[in-house]
Amino acid sequence: MNPHLVLRVVSKLLIPIIVIFGFYVHFHGDYSPGGGFQAGVIIASAVILYALIFGMDAAREAVPAWFVRAGSAIGVLIYGGTGFVTWLLGGNFLSYDMLDPESTHHAGQHLGILLVELGVLTTVFSVMVVIFYTFASRAPDIPEGEW
C-alpha cells in the first residue's frame, strides 16, 4: 500500500480549495487584503503541493513547463498592455479612468486594477512554479526514510 495515502487524500481535497482561495484573493483584492501577488503565490503553492505529493512528472503533465515559461512573460505583457490601452484611449500610461470615462463611480479604476493585478498574478505564479521546477528537477529524489 502507498505509505503516503493520507497525504494524497488530504491534498486532493485541499488543492482545489487552495486554487479557489487564490482566485478569491485576486478578485476580491479591491475590498480585502491581498491582490495579484498573494494570489499568484497561493496558486503556485497549490501546484508545488501537488508536485511534492504526486511527483514531478504528474505536476509537469498538469502544469507543463512551457506554460509557466510563457506565462512569466505574458503577465508582464498584460500589465504593460493595460497601460498601452489607456495610452491609445487618449490618457496617460496606466491612467485607468480612460477604460470607462463615462462612469461616475470609477468603474475604469476597478477594471484597470483588476487587469494589472491579473498580470502580476500570471507573472508571480509562473515564476514561482518555474523556480520550483528548475530546483526540483536538479534535486535527487527524496529517499523514503527522509520523509
Binding site: 487584503p33 508545488i48 503577465g75 508582464v76 484597470g112 515564476v127
Partner: protein, 188 residues
C-alpha cells in the same frame, strides 16, 4: 488615568519569540531544522504584522516567507550537505564587531524615531494621510493598499512585476529550463 493597552503584550511576546527563533537558527548546525525554523520565523513575523494592522504585508509574508521560500530552501538543501560546517572562532569576533557596531548605531537612532502610533509621524502625516482622504473620491476602492499599489503607484508595481520576471528568467538561464534533459543530467 490612561488604560493599559493589553495588546502590546502580544507584540512583546511575538518579538521575544522572533528573537528566540533567530538565535536558534544561528546556533543550529542541522540545515533541515534551520530551514524549518526560518518558516516558523516568517509565520511569527506574519502574526506580528497582523497585530500591527499591516494585513496585506502579513499575507505576503505568510505566503512567500513561510510557504514558497521554505519549499525552495528545502529543494536547495537537497543539493547540498545536511549539516553546516562549524565556523572558525576567528570569524566569530569579526562578526561580533560588525553586529555590535550596527546595533549601537541603531540604538543611537532610537531617540529620533517617532512614538509608536504617533499621528504626526512622517509615515502617518503628509502623503499617507493624503492617500486615505483621496482614495474614496479618486479610485473608489475600499482597500487603500490596493489603490496605492495598483493605481497611484502603478509604475512601481509594473517595475516590480518586471523584476520578478527577470528573477525567473535568471534562474531559467542559469539552471536550465527544467526540461526532461536537465532532469537526466541532474539525476545521475
Amino acid at each position: 488615568m490612561e488604560s493599559f493597552d493589553w495588546t502590546q503584550l502580544l507584540d512583546y511576546a511575538l518579538m521575544a519569540m522572533l528573537l528566540a527563533v533567530g538565535v536558534a537558527i544561528v546556533r543550529l548546525r542541522n540545515l533541515f531544522a534551520a530551514v524549518m525554523l526560518m518558516g516558523v520565523y516568517s509565520l511569527l513575523s506574519a502574526a506580528w504584522f497582523v497585530s500591527l494592522d499591516a494585513v496585506d504585508v502579513a499575507f505576503t509574508e505568510a505566503a512567500v516567507g513561510a510557504g514558497i521560500s521554505t519549499v525552495l530552501m528545502l529543494g536547495a538543501m537537497l543539493l547540498t550537505a545536511r549539516e553546516a560546517e562549524p565556523v572558525k572562532a576567528g570569524r566569530h569576533w569579526a562578526a561580533l564587531a560588525v553586529v555590535l557596531a550596527t546595533g549601537a548605531a541603531l540604538f543611537f537612532a532610537i531617540g529620533d524615531m517617532p512614538a509608536y502610533g504617533d499621528p504626526n509621524s512622517p509615515a502617518n502625516a503628509y502623503v499617507g494621510f493624503d492617500y486615505l482622504i483621496r482614495t474614496p473620491q479618486e479610485v473608489a476602492v475600499p482597500n487603500v493598499v490596493t489603490a496605492v499599489l495598483a493605481s497611484y503607484r502603478g509604475f512601481d508595481t509594473f517595475g516590480e512585476t518586471v523584476v520578478i520576471f527577470a528573477a525567473g528568467l535568471g534562474v531559467m538561464l542559469l539552471l536550465g529550463f527544467g526540461g526532461k534533459k536537465a532532469k537526466k543530467e541532474g539525476g545521475e
